[in-house]
Symmetry: C2
Subunit: 351 residues, 2 copies
């Protein structure tokens, strides 16, 4: 993303649309990058203008983390966010869930011919704001254009690089029987907010997506109990149920939940009832689940509740010794059921 | 990409197709990842099964490089390659062009509902082979599915992380008047090979894409003349002409080419004549252009010619002092012309 030639006239962002030339590597592509992307994402690494960004390495003793995600959410704009901020939050969170401090992001755009430049600018501005707020610059990127009918407006693939400080060991494989399960807040808002905007489903709701960057919450948790946080995961696609099944399988343990302890907003409950969904399987984009050592649970929970994104944090269950690696749940009605993997399709294009 | 639940029956790769469930984060998504992606890309980092990959950092004194690219080539399979190996080569090369040793790759797939699993497996196998051959593992990834008619088979976004050894300083901004321009081989093959397969253009040709990973060529060049290599670029989308204009602009210099010195295969020349294209603007995926200090030119050129991917390497011109930053070329016919930026659309979806 270098200094480029002078353009005859500036991009007409108000009325213009993406055309195939914006992806062909010539003057039009350079202009789009200069006047739309580089201007919004501006930072000294992006300004290097090479095929990649050259970056300082973290201090010795740190390990690196790479995480990547494609974002194909539909619709592109939803209550509480859009594909732009979502693509930043999602990848910042994936890096943070490995116990790493997110340092840099890359962004690759696949644009559909005919997409309004005004909408693209809105998405890019949201992305830039999310990156700035998170303190994680977008250091390099790419733009491709596909013909109308071969894409769907905008797809954004983001990759994050982070550094794990010495002494931090967080992995989905580290849960042990007796550990405590913590959840940072209420579940299901992102999925319901997106579904409420689908043409086929459109319903009125006051629910907004919880999309948010969780890395400062993670930092507070790790600081509160060094060595006490064993697993961190953000329950996105597939929801809390899927995430917990992944942890159980990866750590070769069972999990035992208390349904009554899992916070669900009444509006989310109502919408899920209407749609025939179980909030346990609905995506979140600003929540995390943690497995912590029993002796660290109080300190970590207090640190979560003291953070703006963890005020509703709570204990939702514990890790058990179970050779079948089941996630079981005591229901509100006094029964117990297995919370299984989701079988079929539930919510496509939710992120 | 963790250990997953047991599946009722294995994926039917021969007859199966991508459905929306493969992107929904449940059991079907996990099975696709396990049986297709994880099996092909197998390495200890991918096997960690967390939201990202935790990786050893390079030795102290190294800087990091991040590069990212979306790959939307159409058609997905072309003579000499496919979107799979292309997505590895393209990103390995972008990292290498920053003077870095490529260490790790990430891959994010956007799949269209209905895409045959057999084709996907072929692409993934090609990608895995390219990564293995390059010695750069795919350490983490993501898979999304969009409805039929909202994508185009497979899009792949790859991100590469590399390390720049101490003392290496390569940037598009480093060209100085008097420097020598080197090209690693003949131009235009990738673009012509892809175009030859387009339904609308389909023509018979023996030309195959030059798609290749150039990082070992770069390493040999850097080794041959420490500090002597100032700029490295792979002339992909937009071709050699666009790349040279980018360098001229970024370094605030002029460039002066000898047309007769630029190798073009006769079949590429003939195809370009047929299609009304100038090979200078046609994409390459296995070539590089270098700006080297005059005193280093002989050594770097010899190192290139000794490498299998640089056997045809040659001097094609030099860097001049030009306040207008023009790329000029002495033509075969004794004239001189400005090699300008490409204005409109030339070759969409070539990579």
């Amino acid at each position: 993303m270098s200094t480029r030639p002078d353009y005859v006239r500036p991009l007409d962002i108000k009325h213009g649309r993406i055309d195939m030339g914006h992806g062909a590597g010539g003057r039009a592509a350079a202009q789009l990058i200069d006047e739309l992307f580089a201007r919004a994402f501006h930072n000294r690494f992006l300004g290097q203008g090479n095929d990649g960004a050259c970056l300082p390495a973290p201090p010795p003793g740190h390990r690196l983390v790479l995480a990547t995600d494609g974002h194909v959410v539909s619709p592109l704009f939803f209550p509480g966010g859009d594909v732009g901020c979502l693509s930043v939050h999602g990848t910042v969170n994936d890096v943070a869930m490995c116990g790493a401090v997110p340092l840099y992001l890359t962004a690759s755009f696949i644009l559909e011919e005919g997409f309004p430049l005004a909408d693209l600018q809105r998405i890019v501005a949201s992305m830039a704001a999310a990156a700035r707020e998170a303190g994680v610059p977008i250091v390099t990127g790419d733009t491709k254009v596909v013909e109308q009918g071969k894409g769907d407006g905008v797809f954004i693939c983001t990759t994050g690089l982070g550094a794990v400080p010495p002494g931090v060991e967080v992995s989905g494989a580290n849960a042990r029987p007796g550990d405590v399960l913590l959840l940072s807040g209420s579940i299901g808002e992102h999925g319901v907010a997106v579904l409420s905007q689908r043409e086929s489903l459109g319903f009125e709701t006051s629910i907004t997506s919880d999309t948010a960057a969780l890395h400062t919450l993670v930092a507070a948790m790790l600081h509160s109990a060094p060595g006490g946080v064993r697993v961190l995961r953000d329950p996105t696609r597939g929801g809390l149920a899927t995430t917990l099944n992944e942890i159980a399988r990866q750590s070769a343990v069972g999990l035992h939940l208390q349904e009554a302890a899992i916070p669900v907003l009444p509006q989310v409950d109502a919408a899920c009832e209407l749609l025939g969904l179980d909030p346990l399987y609905v995506a979140n984009e600003g929540k995390l689940v943690a497995v912590v050592a029993p002796e660290a649970a109080d300190a970590v929970l207090a640190a979560m509740q003291a953070h703006p994104l963890g005020r509703q944090a709570c204990r939702i269950g514990m890790v058990t010794d179970d050779p079948q690696h089941f996630v079981q749940m005591d229901t509100r009605f006094g029964g117990r059921r297995v919370v299984d993997w989701l079988s079929g399709e539930q919510l496509p294009r939710i992120c």
